[in-house]
Amino acid sequence: MPTVGIKRDLLFEVLQKTYTDDQFQDLCFDFGLELDEVTSEKEMLSREQGTESDQVKTASEAIIYKIDIPANRYDLLCLEGLARGLLVFLHKMEAPRYRSIPPTEGPRQQLIIKPNTAKVRPHAVAAILRNITFNQDRYSSFIDLQDKLHQNICRKRSLVAIGTHDLDTIQGPFVFDAKPPDEIKFRPLNQQKELTATQQMELYSGDSHLRHYLPIIRDKPVYPVIYDRNGVVLSMPPIINGEHSKITLNTRNVLIECTATDLNKATTVLDQLVSMFSQYCSQPFIVEQVDVVRPDKTSITYPKLAYREEELLVEDVNKKIGIQESPETIAQLLTKMCLKSKVVENGSKLLVEVPPTRADVIHCCDIIEDVAIAYGYNNVQYTMPKTNCIADQFQINHLTDQLRNAVAQAGFTEVLTFALCSRDDIADKLGHNIENTRAVHISNPKTSEFQVARTTLLPGILKTLANNRKMPLPLKLFEISDIVLQDPDKDVGAGNERHLCAVNYNKAPGFEVIQGLLDRTMQMLEVKSCKDDDQGYYIRSSQDDATYFPGRCAEIVARGKVIGKMGVLHPDVIQKFELTLPCAAFEITLEPFL
């Protein structure tokens, strides 16, 4: 969920009202936002740098509201959009109508896409903001919004990258091409010299901000680049813009280009940017069009700023929320959410206009949600579903719950250990080879603790013992939980198995203690001790398991199948788990007892 920092006083000025923090929090809550923190630039900086730094001493103390915005509401990611949304919600203004128009004189500017871009970043869209007036706050907000969009919908510039340029420094038509890195040379933003793309990639590998974007194009044969008619480089997306066309506080005409691997998202991003900042144009909310000429010579005009109509049954809206409101009221509620609506077909239907800013609305259910938000979730009457069902427990969980109680009644203490662990935990430390464990391996563990899913409960319990060596003896622990094994018969190639593992840790190993618990468990499961019968259980000496001390290991056979092992742990195992005393253990699968 993105968080935006907004200057409180600026926001209140636009909202034409001063709120206390609590009042503003309540307003946010009803609108589906969260006032996360009340802070200031000074406070934020001093948290990073300490109170002594010069930068902190001169920093502004103006109050900043940090507000959590739902991940799909790109229209609320800047002061302009947030204030607009709240003003409409509070009935203080009508949602503006965003329009894109051709230039007043001459043909549209062109952005020509060359075929080579298909190899790296095939899409581009563009638009122009004419006669815009920036000041410091507006300018900062414009930069911040681009950053927020880059981080969220643009997926860290991988899907879409935004470039903004002072149109008066460059001349169209513009060309979006892709070239080998050494053939691209220009003076990048905030640098003194011209550098080739290769040199820039080298330079930015040490840049805390830009280095994250380098992998998007690094290994491509060609890099995306946008030129003007005179060969001036506008930008090398998604990395950096050129210094030449940089926008300043004095910039009056802005060219916005978005290059992308996802055209739909690029269109949305462009629509968001221009609808937010066309507010500061001499003709507010009017945007100048640009023609994008594709490699196949077809031309499309941007920004689309498309309004879409959705038709809803009034009855549907009421039924899905659980309210009884008139079509007119519902239409008013939707208008409050920037979704202009009118009642049609004798009041049975609503015609809702979805503006380009509300890219999150992709289905009628999104509109119904907005009705509910505008109505107020907390004004909806609680009702009970009439759904009548007979409940069932999941069999293995039912058995587990009963058995946990029985084992605890037998004097053992239940522990809860992690399902993920290191390869060593399930292999080396137990004297096994990882190849023979049927373990499921994780491809992207951040630490060795998350290399595999456990194939046995024993290591987790032994680690619990190691952390509790100071407790009075004996320590008798157990766990009933799932382990994971590769299983080609399952659709995902792996499955869980419910295990019971118990250990006795004392001055003497206590094989008989562990065996006693096994006997008790079998008694609870109504399996008799009997060697000859297919229905009984018995243990038999087992030779080849390095986890256990030679001659002190047995296989547990129940109903004719080996269900697990028991024995005195091998001294090497005890030491590898940082234990000092003898220990006996058993581990069985519970699957056959369902």
Partner: protein
């Protein structure tokens, strides 16, 4: 002991008040033993005697002092060792114990004299015929103790000679109690089978119990606190008529974990930063293909009234195996299964099981935690129904003050975060998430158009940590748990104010 007690009581009988020091003389016994006898008389249930304590100092003979008392002072011993005709000094010094002190003291007392020029070496002879061993006499008096005649100077001298030392003494003054008697019955420690059968318990007295002591802890096993809370939540769902879902599959395909839930393939949750992907077995190999095609279509082109996400949906992404990030993956499988039945029948499902996130870890976040989830599928369910059932659910946890906040979730619309008022913190805290599953998720499965599915979820760890006041999740789950915490953990009674 019993004899001493009786003798003592006889002494007390005749006096209004008597001290333990007096009793030492009267009973001719050691002070310590007399005090012991008093304590045991006091341990009887009756008020036989009353005592007041007084702390005094007194002189006691050292080991050397005791020897002097028995055998005489070193100087007297030396004097008596000298035969009438005298003896060689060297001989005397060799034969007599403590001769060095004895010689110098006897010399200064004028009891003996020495002839240094005698033939064969210096000779000692008696100077007087008769001596009085004042040191021995004084020590006798100190021991008695009758200090009246002893001078301070003498005490200081004896102390210097290490014949006596000063000790603190607790003495007791005894008076008769309200139930004074001369004979005491020995109290019984406990009731025995014989006493019951013979009825002798009727006439016996019993030692009083110490009700302040703790009992003997029973040897017992213990259940883990988090799993005790899990049992309670299971119980609540069962009471509400919810059937448990089979969540015993930690490994899931991206298809069921994300795609089937209408979560687009570029969604940040599908990043390696947030999700554990599996390298072996890396992919799932079996999908209901016709359903998969419908999922692909709704993502890339829309349908069922939806615009879709308009992107190039790839089966390779859907095949990627992972550790499930939520149990909703299982809910999706269950709802798909439900849609395959000939006739739709309403269901209520729940699950409580592990989920995995490859997130940054801190005091309240682990890479794995338990998710609690409730799902209802029926015709015509409303948002009000969802809020109503959530209200009933939390009421069973003792939480009745709820508030719902609009939220965003890719697979539910409307979506609501659940807040409850925390009386301790005096603020609203988030306790869960909820929503109505999107048509883009349900309709491709084949569920009827007018069936709504409502769901809510929360973590098991958070309410447990709040309930038991645990700040660090590692104190609750995993190998670093303190077993004493498990041993001491009370019953899980969720209705007794969980938050």
């Amino acid at each position: 002991m019993a004899e001493l007690q009786e003798a003592l009581l006889h002494q007390v009988q005749n006096k209004d008040r008597i001290s333990t020091l007096d009793l030492v003389t009267l009973l001719n016994n050691d002070h310590q033993k007399i005090v012991g006898a008093i304590k045991s008389i006091q341990s009887y249930p009756e008020n036989v005697i009353n005592c007041t304590q007084e702390t005094t100092k007194r002189w006691e003979l050292t080991e050397e002092g005791e020897t002097v008392l028995k055998k005489g002072s070193h100087e007297a011993v030396l004097y008596h060792a000298v035969p009438s005709g005298g003896a060689l000094q060297s001989q005397i010094m060799k034969d007599v114990p403590n001769a060095k002190i004895g010689f110098s003291k006897a010399m200064s007392a004028g009891w003996i004299e020495i002839d240094k020029k005698a033939e064969g070496g210096p000779r000692i002879t008696k100077k007087v015929d008769h001596i009085e061993d004042k040191v021995q006499l004084c020590l006798e008096q100190i021991k008695a103790p009758h200090l009246d005649d002893i001078q301070e100077k003498q005490l200081a001298d004896f102390k210097k000679r290490k014949l006596i030392c000063e000790v603190k003494l607790n003495i007791f003054h005894i008076t008769k109690g309200t139930e004074f008697k001369l004979k005491l019955d020995k109290p019984e420690a406990d009731l025995t089978p014989e006493m019951i059968s013979s009825g002798s318990w009727r006439t016996k007295t019993f030692k009083p119990f110490n009700f302040d002591a703790l009992g003997v802890p029973p040897t017992s096993g213990h259940l883990h606190p988090l799993l005790k809370v899990r049992s309670e939540f299971r119980q609540i769902f069962l009471e509400m008529g919810f059937t448990e879902m089979p969540t015993n599959n930690f490994i899931e395909s991206s298809f069921w974990n994300f795609d089937s839930l209408f979560q687009p393939q570029q969604h940040p949750a599908r990043d390696a930063h947030d999700t554990f992907f599996i390298s072996d077995p890396a992919t799932a190999h079996e999908f209901p293909m016709d359903y998969l095609e419908r999922v692909k279509k709704v993502h890339s082109e829309g349908g069922y009234g939806s615009q879709g996400y308009k992107y190039d949906w790839k089966i390779e992404e859907a095949q990627k195996n992972l550790l499930r990030t939520h149990t909703t993956a299982v809910s999706a499988r269950m709802l798909y299964k439900l849609a395959q039945q000939k006739e739709f029948r309403p269901v209520k499902y729940f699950s409580i099981d592990r989920v995995f996130r490859n997130e940054t870890l801190d005091a309240t976040h682990l890479a794995e935690f338990h998710q609690i989830e409730g799902v209802v599928a029926d015709y015509g369910l409303t948002l009000g129904d969802l809020m109503g059932i959530i209200y009933e659910f939390f009421k069973k946890l003792g939480i009745e003050k709820l508030r719902f906040k609009p939220a965003y979730n890719p697979y539910t619309e409307p979506s609501m975060e659940i807040f409850s008022y925390h009386e301790g913190l005096k603020k609203w805290v988030e306790i869960g998430n909820s929503g109505v599953f999107r048509p883009e998720m349900l309709l491709p499965m084949g569920l009827p158009q007018d069936v709504q599915v409502i769901a809510w979820g929360l973590s098991l760890e958070r309410p447990t940590m709040i309930k038991y006041g645990i700040d660090n999740i590692r104190d609750l789950i995993g190998p670093k748990v303190n077993l004493q915490m498990i041993y001491d953990n009370p019953l899980c009674r969720l209705d007794k104010k969980i938050i």
